[in-house]
Symmetry: C2
């Protein structure tokens, strides 16, 4: 369907209200073939023990190199399910749209969600749309919630992390944060830094199918790899030691991070995760990850070096010294997801 | 915990960011005892076949007589599950908060959600918080999603509605819309009109337990009872005839609606539903509903009078004539939920 630049979302009122609701209803129905649109809730089959998650997405800008708020909203929630060792099954989508938002952009975002859902092998089954007045939003906010069936039990918790575990990142880090920052700062990089936004469930499934059961998995979103490592070190009461030179970072990402005075370990990813696995499983895990798009640079970046009551993360630097890697003090980059 | 008027939500950054996250985390953990706060998703037991729903709440004002955005967000989603003939089990909560929002108000809302969840017998198990800049929200928006286990199958659909079915409303109508409008218009009514916002799952459970299986149930939210009747008449291709004098409306609600030029049938409710039941079950159903708080005025308001290809809703007026009840043309009252 084609939309003119002047076709915008309006406060649903008067006769325009009903036709608008119809238009949006048709747009959703076209994009989401499994949407149960005649009822306010979807009927779902028994999926056994479940993971259940929710996330709102308020990323600014809503379009960025490598994705948009729609694909991000699908990937982010798919990944929260996948990190539980669960297979994403069914998703809800709720839009809060600011009056005046172009229908053309909404259509782009809706189809981007549909593509991402297909790629993630998850069905969008129910949804909701609210419209708020001008100056009470920022174009569009999206909430996605999802359920998935648990494939593993009693594992994948920080407290299962133990001394000797190897630490793996599933690909090169820092792309998503730097993609957002390059747009915000009006930098026209050539080639542009593309967000890593992607679903991680196929990687997780493949690892579990090969009988690798990570002690813990976590996607490295807000706060980056450094936040994940610090959270796990604290909960597991261990000392995590990584080697700086082993952390995979694209040259352009590293360059922009340096200009902005940021450490790539602190930058948000939306399609990368950190795994703690037994030493004997580490190489095999990396090889599996490397067969996936986005996993080409998967690498062992360190290990759990010992017990530590308060939790400690350190990095061996290129010069051979050892420095602490701190928890990022709050959000370095607001509105990243 | 006490909050000063000057304690507000800030963009989570700098060291204030981390302490803010802690504060909010503690507030949530205190209010929601079943929150699984160490992971981004909750692990849930097998609940069999499910209903799954999502809704965002953008009501303005966020505090109103008889409730607030928090209780409304719980009741609204509980009711979407209940209307499927399902028992609400687990809920997610996602906040989008505008920078500068008072922590005191957030705390009130969070505890209002906790109370509503307890009353609705649903567990809040997972959540998310995003903060947006000033002028990019309206204080607070809340998304709730939920799953519940289906108690009935292959019924409760508009297409099961048949000629002869009696139509019941579960209580007096129009309170929620008029409660919101009275605040918006600065009317200080004495006594105030209280919103009907309430969970409907106990009523539904009680009816099913008494072996009444409605052809269709639907909560009468945006667009009111008129919208529900028109949607069902269209889908079921029937003529629905109601009797105006049988529709229960509180005198104060009727008075304010008249002043505003609104028909109570078009006004949103957040704790009232419409049921289509077999004629022989109708009186029994009404009697069950009347035992509940909010159900005192439950009544049979009409019946399915015959087949009609395009769907038709009419009302016998007090004067004995018959008039059409139209689908509300869009939202009469925006930001009602």
């Amino acid at each position: 369907m084609g939309y003119k630049d002047t076709d915008v979302v309006t406060m649903a009122h008067g006769s325009g209200g009903e036709s608008m609701q119809r238009l949006i209803g048709e747009m959703y129905a076209n994009a989401f073939p499994k949407l149960q649109k005649d009822t306010d809730a979807a009927c779902l089959p028994n999926i056994g023990e479940m993971a259940f998650t929710t996330d709102s997405f308020v990323v600014d800008p809503i379009f960025f190199p490598g994705g948009d708020i729609g694909s991000l909203a699908v990937h982010g929630t798919v990944n929260d399910i996948a990190m539980m060792g669960a297979r994403p099954k069914f998703m809800s989508v709720a839009f809060i749209i600011e009056e005046g938002f172009p229908l053309k952009d909404l259509n782009t975002i809706v189809h981007s969600m549909a593509d991402a859902a297909k790629k993630s092998n998850i069905q969008i089954v129910t949804g909701d749309t609210k419209v708020v007045g001008r100056g009470q939003g920022n174009g569009i906010y999206i909430n996605t919630s999802a359920v998935g069936n648990l494939m593993i039990h009693d594992c994948n918790q920080p407290q299962y992390v133990d001394v000797g575990d190897k630490i793996i990142v599933s690909g090169d880090i820092g792309r998503h944060g730097m993609a957002i920052m390059s747009v915000r700062n009006g930098l026209e990089l050539d080639p542009p830094i593309l967000s890593d936004s992607a679903p991680l469930n196929a990687m997780v499934l493949s690892i579990l199918n090969d009988d690798v059961y990570p002690s813990c998995m976590r996607d490295a979103t807000r706060g980056g790899v450094a936040a994940v490592l610090n959270e796990i070190a604290r909960t597991a009461q261990v000392h995590i030691r990584i080697e700086e030179e082993k952390v995979p970072v694209d040259e352009n990402v590293r360059g922009l991070a340096e200009i902005l005075g940021l450490d790539p370990l602190h930058i948000a990813n939306e399609g990368r995760f950190v795994l703690f696995v037994k030493a004997e499983d580490a190489l095999r895990t990396v090889k599996i990850l490397q067969t996936f798009e986005g996993g080409e640079k998967a690498a062992i970046i360190g290990e759990v070096a010992g017990k530590n009551k308060n939790g400690l993360v350190t990095a061996k630097t290129l010069l051979g010294s050892e420095k602490p890697i701190h928890m990022p003090a709050g959000e370095i980059l607001p509105r990243i997801c």
